[in-house]
């Protein structure tokens, strides 16, 4: 029997990046906010203080910061006529858990979208014609332009103290920055971090080939930074423990290092951990959310009424909760009708390890998940003419080392056995002299790539798993071949003794065993039309206007950049719209 609690102004589901931003903004607006987090509370101290943060087995391999799959996972199949099986071990993408969510263990690779990324359908149709796009490709435009979003992209960079070199300030190109970026109102909060040896070699080769390399924008600040909430971050020291790890130095931006210290002091904010929301409750006519139902650690069920509901969990959990709550029409891949679950997308990477001579000290252990890398953006988005190549989209190419943790980041030359004396000898001889070049690329949306509820498998609470139907398409095989070939030209110019190559080739299935990125997107997508999108430009549900859904679930397709910068921008835009317009006159912010 569920216990009904006293009503609050706003309930926030999931306390990661977007839930923390919304909690802070709504609390600042004077609302009584309750955040329900299914996981535990964690903070820099004591959870990942030095030296216990530098534990590759615990964090890198076992994945202490991630969702325990024994409690919950997803199922995956390659096509609508296949049988989905559970994702039993975390490999291809990671699933976050606990306070801070993926904002704790991300790499801090902090990009803005290219202007055309936000109108990707109309831009490509205009430039290449509608017939250039495959028949089953279902990409869409955002209903927001780059210029409209810019103040909010900037606001999120200020929150994070992001380091980098601007490429375009109010239309004036800046030397050393990304010449392809959209105009920004001002530069990055802190200067770029120093380059690693591998990044310097990459940038030199890229310049010789006529490209414009620039430092990867990084949410690891390079100097002390106090953000708009009065929270202070300290400079990164390239310790080499970023992706999959909490930052012991208070350098990498996370909810813990940028928002929670201020938020937790507010008397009108309350956090309840170990509280798993199982349903968003609706009024009898289905047009208004009345609150949520959740289960606590003891299995006790509660109903938390609220005037405003913020769904801010990880992408796949946002989609599942919408489906379980019966909000919006579930997507049907046979007809293309419906919106919830539509346009699931991912990203595609390729990677080379470069082996240099013994006198070249790469020191791979000196690095950060983002800082210290160099990038070229010539082959991302629509920065080049795609007409001769027969695909749309692309990716950035990055060079450098993000760490030298031996279980995950030790490479051996192609042809080396995976074990035995020859493996050990190769590991010993190459470790200190190995750098990397990677491509990080877009994946378009397709009619048959979507999320629904699994008919068979359930989580520990008895909820159906989200079922992902996804595989690669011809557009992406061509794209990765093209972008990877450009990367290999840079590799050749860097002149290593040898290099490896990991690339998805035509016909390869999506391999759940191979880590790429954690950037799974879509399912509650944003757009201008309620028939083809689930939320409007402010991430407000078209069907239930007192429900907002934030995160990568809003992406209509996936671009070539890491998603967090765009997620932050969309979240701040929505938060401002709620504060400045919605609270004064609750209702749809975009007329239906």
């Amino acid at each position: 029997m569920a216990t009904t609690l006293k009503s609050v102004d706003a309930v926030v589901i999931g306390l990661g990046w977007t839930g923390s931003i919304l909690s802070m903004e709504l609390a600042n607006a004077g609302l009584h906010v309750v955040a329900l987090e299914r996981g535990a509370y964690r903070d820099t101290s004591p959870n990942w203080s030095y030296p216990k943060a530098a534990d590759e087995l615990k964090y890198g391999i076992r994945g202490d910061l991630f969702q325990r799959l024994s409690k919950d996972t997803v199922s995956i199949r390659h096509s609508t006529d296949g049988v989905a099986v559970p994702y039993r071990q975390l490999n291809a993408f990671l699933l976050p858990d606990n306070v801070g969510g993926a904002g704790v263990h991300w790499n801090g690779q902090h990009y803005r979208p290219s202007p055309e990324d936000l109108k990707f359908l109309s831009h490509n149709v205009e430039r290449y014609g509608a017939k250039f796009l495959p028949e089953d490709m279902t990409i869409q435009d955002y209903d927001v332009t780059y210029d409209e979003l810019e103040p909010y992209l900037d606001e999120f960079e200020r929150l994070c103290g992001t380091s980098g070199q601007a490429g375009n300030i109010r239309g004036t190109l800046q030397p050393g920055g990304n010449p392809f970026e959209g105009p920004r109102s001002r530069g990055y909060p802190t200067p770029a971090l120093p380059d690693t040896e591998g990044a310097l070699r990459f940038a030199k080769a890229a310049r010789e080939l006529g490209y414009s390399p620039f430092p990867q924008p990084s949410a690891n600040c390079s100097q002390p930074w106090t953000n708009q909430y009065g929270v202070r971050l300290g400079p990164c020291n390239l310790c080499g423990y970023c992706e999959r790890y909490g930052c012991y130095l208070y350098s990498k931006a996370s909810p813990q290092t940028t928002i929670l210290p201020a938020l937790m002091q507010k008397s009108n904010f309350e956090m309840r951990t170990h509280s798993t929301v199982t349903k968003i409750n609706l009024s009898p006519d289905g047009k208004r959310a009345t609150g949520v139902t959740y289960v606590d650690a003891a299995g006790q069920e509660f109903i938390q009424p609220a005037d405003l509901v913020i769904l801010s969990s990880f992408q796949i959990n946002n989609v599942r909760l919408m489906l379980l709550s019966g909000i919006g029409t579930p997507y049907d891949p046979r007809t293309g009708e419906g919106v919830i679950g539509k346009n699931f997308a991912y990203q595609m990477m390729s990677e080379s390890a470069l082996f240099f001579d013994k006198d070249v000290a790469i020191n791979p252990f000196i690095g950060a998940g983002s800082g210290g890398q160099q990038i070229i953006d010539e082959f991302n988005a629509d920065h080049f003419d795609h007409a001769p190549h027969g695909f749309i989209g692309g990716g950035y190419i990055l060079g450098g080392t993000t760490g030298g943790r031996p279980l995950q980041q030790l490479n051996v030359p192609a042809g080396t056995p995976m074990w035995g004396a020859a493996w050990k000898k190769a590991a010993k001889e190459n470790y200190l002299h190995t750098s990397r070049v990677q491509t990080h690329s877009s994946v378009m949306a397709y009619r048959g790539a979507y999320v629904d509820l699994d008919p068979t498998y359930r989580n520990a609470l008895g909820m159906p798993l989200a079922r992902i139907t996804f595989d690669w398409h011809e557009n992406e095989y061509r794209m990765t071949r093209f972008v990877t070939d450009r990367a290999l030209e840079i590799v050749e110019k860097m002149n290593p003794k040898s290099h490896t190559l990991t690339m998805r080739k035509a016909g390869d299935h999506f391999n759940t065993r191979q880590y790429q990125t954690t950037h799974i997107t879509g399912g509650v997508i944003t757009g201008a039309d309620p028939r083809t999108s689930a939320v409007n430009r402010y991430c407000q549900s078209w069907d239930v206007p007192n429900l907002f859904v934030f995160g990568a679930s809003a992406f209509p397709q996936n671009f070539g950049y890491n998603p967090t910068g765009l997620i932050g921008g969309l979240t701040f835009m929505g938060a401002h719209a709620i504060r400045e317009r919605y609270l004064k006159a609750p209702g749809p912010l975009v007329p239906v």
């Binding site: 030095y50 030296p51 216990k52 530098a54 534990d55 590759e56 087995l57 391999i61 076992r62 994945g63 325990r68 799959l69 024994s70 919950d72 199949r77 390659h78 296949g82 049988v83 099986v85 559970p86 994702y87 039993r88 071990q89 975390l90 490999n91 971090l193 120093p194 380059d195 690693t196 040896e197 310097l200 020291n237 390239l238 310790c239 080499g240 012991y248 000290a361 020191n363 252990f365 000196i366 210290g372 030298g404 031996p406 279980l407 030790l410 995976m418 074990w419 035995g420 004396a421 050990k424 000898k425 010993k428 470790y431 200190l432 498998y457 359930r458 999506f510 391999n511 759940t512 065993r513």
Partner: protein, 241 residues
């Protein structure tokens, strides 16, 4: 004659394993090497041999023999047994990992799907060792007249290779290659993980490759790309080398 020397060492290890499964090999092996003039013995020797908690005597013997082939000891650096990898794996079996806390293990189990859809067996790591080692020893005995640990090195490598390729048919395991994936992963974990987990004794693997371990502070070095980093590793519990 380094090759013969190390072959002798391996033979010694194998005999030691066969006769007294629970004894520690590190001390004895090092003494042997010292006697041969190959290497100074480590300064610290465990006074009490490690007693496996999870593995049975037969399993422990297999594990020592198999990890010794996966990462052998030779002139390039320490091997898996020397660095305590079997101890590491035994201790991991008692952890949440060993009990399957990190894996989704609810049925139904559909194993005839494309391998790109990942691990689809019902075993926890513990259960997988228990089931697979018995099968492998049985298959080796049927084919070669001896369990795995008593085979010569070449045959052991052949068995491991066919296990890796999935061509070694095991009576009770639907996907034998999945066991190899686990065995090799756990072996490398024990070899490279922080010593506090029982493997990588004295940070032997980190010293071999040049990884500084838990130093995790390069404020003085980030402005000096390309310079040789001079400091040895430290461990989480403060061991230095």
């Amino acid at each position: 004659m380094p090759i013969d020397k190390f072959r002798n060492r391996r033979t010694f290890l194998r005999q030691a394993i066969s006769v007294v499964p629970s004894v520690t090999f590190i001390g004895s092996a090092s003494e042997l090497l010292t006697a041969n003039g190959a290497r100074a013995a480590p300064t610290e020797q465990p006074s009490v041999p490690y007693q496996p908690t999870f593995f049975t005597s037969a399993e422990w013997t297999f594990l020592n023999a198999a990890t010794d082939r996966l990462i052998p000891s030779n002139e390039d650096g320490p091997g898996a047994v020397e660095l305590g990898v079997p101890e590491f794996i035994d201790r991991q079996m008692e952890s949440g990992y060993g009990h399957g806390e990190f894996w989704y293990l609810s049925g139904p189990f559909v194993t005839d799907v494309d391998p790109t859809l990942g691990y689809q067996l019902q075993y926890t790591p513990r259960a997988f060792y228990r089931a697979a080692i018995a099968d492998i020893d049985q298959v080796c005995t049927e084919a070669h007249g001896h369990p795995f640990h008593a085979l010569n090195a070449t045959t052991q490598d052949d068995v491991l290779t066919s296990l890796q390729k999935g061509t070694l048919a095991l009576p009770h395991i639907a996907k034998p290659a999945e066991f190899f994936i686990q065995l090799l992963a756990n072996t490398k974990e024990g070899y490279f993980a922080d010593p506090m987990y029982g493997g990588n004794k004295h940070m032997g693997s980190w010293k071999m490759i040049g990884f500084p371990g838990a130093r995790a502070d390069f404020a003085d070095w980030m402005q000096q790309p390309g310079k040789v980093y001079p400091l040895g590793p430290v461990s989480i519990l403060g061991e230095r080398a």
